[in-house]
């Protein structure tokens, strides 16, 4: 039987032959070639390569290969309603911070798709999301090294305007292998589109529902407990099929929007939840209002035991079937994102409020162009758990094979705060040459929960000033100053960045992130970084040199550890 790798290579050769052969050496252009010629070839590539220099001071490990690279090349051929595509990936070896199980190369993603008016069918690899993703989200994040694409079949049916029915079945990508069997169906109803009387309404109502189930063989799960007979082994009866269901509702009227989603997951004992049998559930609520120059969004989320994976033994960021949306602002300034929050799929109660307001131009505070104000606050707590079935008197760890504990939605342990972020950003353009952004942020960071070690409560104040001055027609100089003050973790940081841009193609920047206030004077390191790049249309190339501190990088509430590094990095990306 051919291995998966060999099958992928054969598939790629077949795809290449199908694309190339019709064009090879025919005296007359056949109808087939004419048809193929009407199609379009598109794709993108990216190469990230880093050369590592050992630096024991900042904890840079020895990298025997010296140079490591993550690369991909994606090709898609589209002809009318039909498309085929494939993506080659190569990790030679994976760059530091990316899971070592990525090591290797091959064609992990390939598909054939027919997108008709009523029916849309994909065979092969695909990404998909039901609702907010809390029940199913197959996606890729290149920077995080996450790719849980489903390989199988997907059908999307749109029998009438406003009704979308999706069905999927397949296995989940797990590095260079596949795990679990996932089945799902999703129904989305935009009532205003198919109910005639509602078509003229100013209020739009959408309702959705999903069912997702995963299958994994039970295997042997042994638990050894102290009983009156001494050490006694128990075999857990693990469910091979774990089902989940979700319902969502969204109402928009005028500038108002209100919505929510509820997800229920049946018993799913796993390494992540300590092999307990209580079901999981998640609730996401949001309400907002927006008009010209003003917007407000309020969100609330309650999560309990919602880690849903293709392999019940998997831990960390990989192998997730679903996704918990982050109720925190995704900061772009380095010190503001020094201690980012990662969603706790096992349980959290979170709230977020986001207000955006534009002070009108022509006013004293608005000036000639207006002033943008952004006020954001988010908080996350541990859920309040009761009746914990622990083997130890007063223990906080539920016994394997037990129900686990009791918890009610939105009941939080107010003394156990995971994260607080309150920030205010002011952006103002003074004239056509000069603009400025100022930001203040207060953060409470539970390093113990988020990173698994460290401070239970780290308080930080962060200030950012971002100034851009355009001189001459296409030249711009940007200065970014940041300061982080905290008495915990590594104490204070100061950061400066100077960036020169010669639009539209060239940029060069220098920055230094300085641990100016570290209580250990010997660890007040400078993490300097120099970068230059060229952009032409959809092609970007950049070369950087410098030091990067050990930390965490997050995207959408999912984080990965970034080890310290010292070296040269090259990034090349292009789309066509």
């Amino acid at each position: 039987m051919l291995s998966r790798m060999k099958l992928r290579k054969i598939a790629f050769a077949g795809l290449a032959a199908a694309l190339i052969c019709p064009f090879a050496g025919h005296a007359q252009e056949s109808k087939f070639e004419e048809m193929l010629g009407r199609g379009t070839l598109s794709g993108n590539i990216q190469i990230d390569a880093q050369m590592y220099f050992k630096d024991s001071l900042i904890g840079v490990p020895e990298v025997p290969e010296k140079l490591r690279s993550n690369s991909f090349a994606y090709l898609q051929y589209t002809n009318g309603k039909f498309s085929v595509g494939a993506r080659f990936e190569g990790y030679f070896k994976p760059m530091l911070g990316y899971d070592a199980r990525l090591d290797g190369w091959g064609l992990p993603y390939y598909f054939a798709r027919f997108s008709g008016d009523i029916i849309d069918v994909t065979a092969g690899s695909f990404y998909e999301q039901f609702g907010s993703g809390m029940i199913l989200r197959a996606y890729q994040d290149w920077n995080l090294g996450i790719d849980n694409a489903i390989s199988g079949v997907r059908a999307i049916i749109r029998p009438v305007e406003g009704i979308t029915i999706k069905g999927i079945i397949g296995t989940q990508r797990h590095f260079w292998d596949h795990v679990g069997l996932i089945r799902g169906v999703d129904l989305d109803l935009a009532f205003n589109d198919f109910i005639k009387p509602m078509q003229s309404w100013g209020t739009r109502i959408t309702l959705g529902g999903s069912f997702v189930s995963k299958f994994q063989e039970a295997g042997t799960k042994l638990v050894i407990e102290n009983t009156e007979n001494g050490l006694t082994p128990y075999q857990l009866n693990l469910p091979e099929n774990v089902g989940s269901a979700a319902a969502r509702l969204n109402i928009e009227s005028g500038g108002f929007t209100v919505g929510g989603e509820y997800v229920y997951k049946a018993n799913d004992p796993s390494a992540e939840n300590g092999y307990i049998y209580r079901p999981g559930q998640a609730i996401l609520l949001n309400a907002g209002y927006s008009m010209r120059g003003f917007g407000i969004l309020l969100q609330a989320k309650s999560v309990d035991n919602m880690g849903f994976r293709g392999d019940r033994a998997e831990l960390g960021n990989y192998g997730m079937i679903n996704y918990m949306p982050a109720l925190t602002r995704q900061h772009t300034y380095s010190l503001a994102s020094l201690y980012p929050y990662a969603c706790q799929t096992q349980g959290e109660v979170a709230f977020q409020a986001d207000i955006q307001y534009k002070i009108k131009r022509g006013t004293v505070l608005g000036g000639k162009y207006g002033t943008d104000l952004k006020l954001n606050a988010s908080v996350a707590f541990a859920p309040e758990r009761t009746n914990i079935t622990s083997l130890e008197e007063g223990g906080t760890t539920p016994a394997q094979g037990s129900w686990g504990y009791d918890v009610k939605p939105f009941h939080m342990d107010a003394d156990n705060i995971y994260f607080i972020d309150a920030n205010l950003e002011i952006a103002h353009k003074f004239n056509k040459n000069f603009k400025m952004t100022l930001m203040y942020m207060f953060e409470l960071y539970n390093q113990e929960v988020v990173e698994g070690h460290g401070e239970p409560r780290a308080y930080a104040h962060i200030a950012v000033g971002d100034f851009t001055y355009m001189f001459l027609k296409k030249h711009a100089l940007r200065l970014e100053l940041q300061y982080l003050h905290t008495k915990q973790i590594d104490q204070d940081w100061l950061m400066g960045t100077l960036e020169y841009t010669f639009a539209p193609s060239w940029f060069v920047s220098v920055s230094d992130q300085w641990n100016v206030g570290n209580n250990d004077k010997n660890r007040r390191f400078h993490y300097y970084y120099v970068s230059a790049g060229y952009i032409h249309d959809a092609t970007r190339i950049s070369l950087s040199y410098g030091k990067i501190r050990q930390g965490i990088m997050c995207s959408g509430g999912v984080c990965r550890e970034v080890p310290a590094s010292n070296g040269v990095m090259l990034t090349l990306s292009s789309s066509f």
Binding site: G59, P61, D99, A100, R101, I157, P159, V160, G162, I163, I165, R183, G184, V185, L187, L189, F194, I195, G209, S210, F211, S213, F215, G219, T220, K221, L222, V223, I224, L231, T232, P233, Y234, Q235, L236, N237, L238, P239, E240, N241, V242, G243, A245, A266, N267, A271, G274, Y275, Y277, A313, L315, G316, G401, S402, E448, G452, H453, Q550, E561, P563
Partner: protein, 274 residues
């Protein structure tokens, strides 16, 4: 109307999917006393990848203690302390560093970058919650290919001598030659360890891998597919660091498939038994 028909089909499909593909385990059915075999002639090797700054590693160590109590001599444990990631491994006291280069070589080869993670007979990298089941599965297989005898002595203060004799009691038909890896372990080492209650300066580390005698991936003792009756023997000499307490040393010998890395037999001898 038509729309309702499509909605109804979708709802039925969803309900049917949920009903057919959801196993609900009732309270009285969640666990059953395990009645499978709990011992075998094949020794099980459990390698625990750990670090002194790994806050969850003491929990894994507690699980190991429970498994050792239950399986007794059938279970051989090796604590493997890689160099990286330094965030989990950097010693609190540089003079008491448990990390070894060979541990890092293995961790890199098996792509182990998070702790605690472990391997039962080097078959799969899993968290500690899976180790009990993995051990039970190996014992249930009832397979034993090798009988092994290990002895060791300390002829001098700085050398250790190991003698190994083995023979295949069944045909071993897997691909790959058969190697022997010889490890020196030390018990009862007091080194600061991060726990859920903070850094414990008096934490006791057991079965710590100190060194490997010979190549890190072992020396060949049999060629591919050795037949029943194939015998092998080896005499090795290794160095003993002056900082090691000799009465706390053990020697672990693992017979492994050089290609798949599967541990097909293991043996242990404790020096300086009390």
């Amino acid at each position: 109307m038509k729309s309702l028909k499509y909605i109804g089909i979708a709802v039925l499909a969803g309900v049917g999917l949920l009903a057919a593909s959801c196993d609900t385990i009732e309270e009285g059915d969640r666990k059953h006393e395990y009645t499978g075999p709990i011992s075998s002639e094949r020794m099980i090797l459990l390698e625990d990848y750990t670090g002194v700054r790994c806050i969850n590693c003491p929990t894994a160590a507690a699980e190991i203690t429970r498994l050792q109590e239950f399986y007794g001599d059938n279970l051989i444990v090796v604590g493997v302390y890689p160099l990286q990631p330094t965030g989990l491994t950097m010693p609190y006291d540089p003079s008491r560093d448990l990390r070894t280069d060979v541990a890092q070589t293995w961790a890199s080869a098996f792509a182990i970058e998070q702790f605690p993670m472990g391997m039962v007979n080097r078959q799969e990298v899993t968290g500690y919650a899976e180790w009990g089941g993995s051990i039970a599965e190996v014992i249930s297989e009832g397979l034993n290919y090798v009988n092994l005898s290990v002895s060791a002595s300390l002829p001098t203060d700085t050398t250790i001598a190991v003698n190994v004799e083995g023979s295949f009691v069944e045909d071993y038909e897997a691909d790959g030659a058969v190697n022997m890896i010889t490890m020196i372990l030390e018990d009862s080492i007091v080194v600061p360890q991060l726990t859920g209650s903070g850094v414990n300066g008096g934490y006791v580390h057991n079965h710590v891998l100190r060194a490997v005698i010979g190549p890190e991936w072992g020396s060949q003792v049999a060629s591919e597919a050795p037949a029943r009756g194939t015998a092998f023997s080896a005499s090795l000499t290794g160095s003993v660091n002056s900082g090691w307490r000799k009465n706390r040393l053990s020697v672990v010998v693992a017979i492994v498939n050089a290609s798949s890395h599967e541990v097909i037999q293991a043996g242990i001898v404790h020096l300086g038994e009390e």
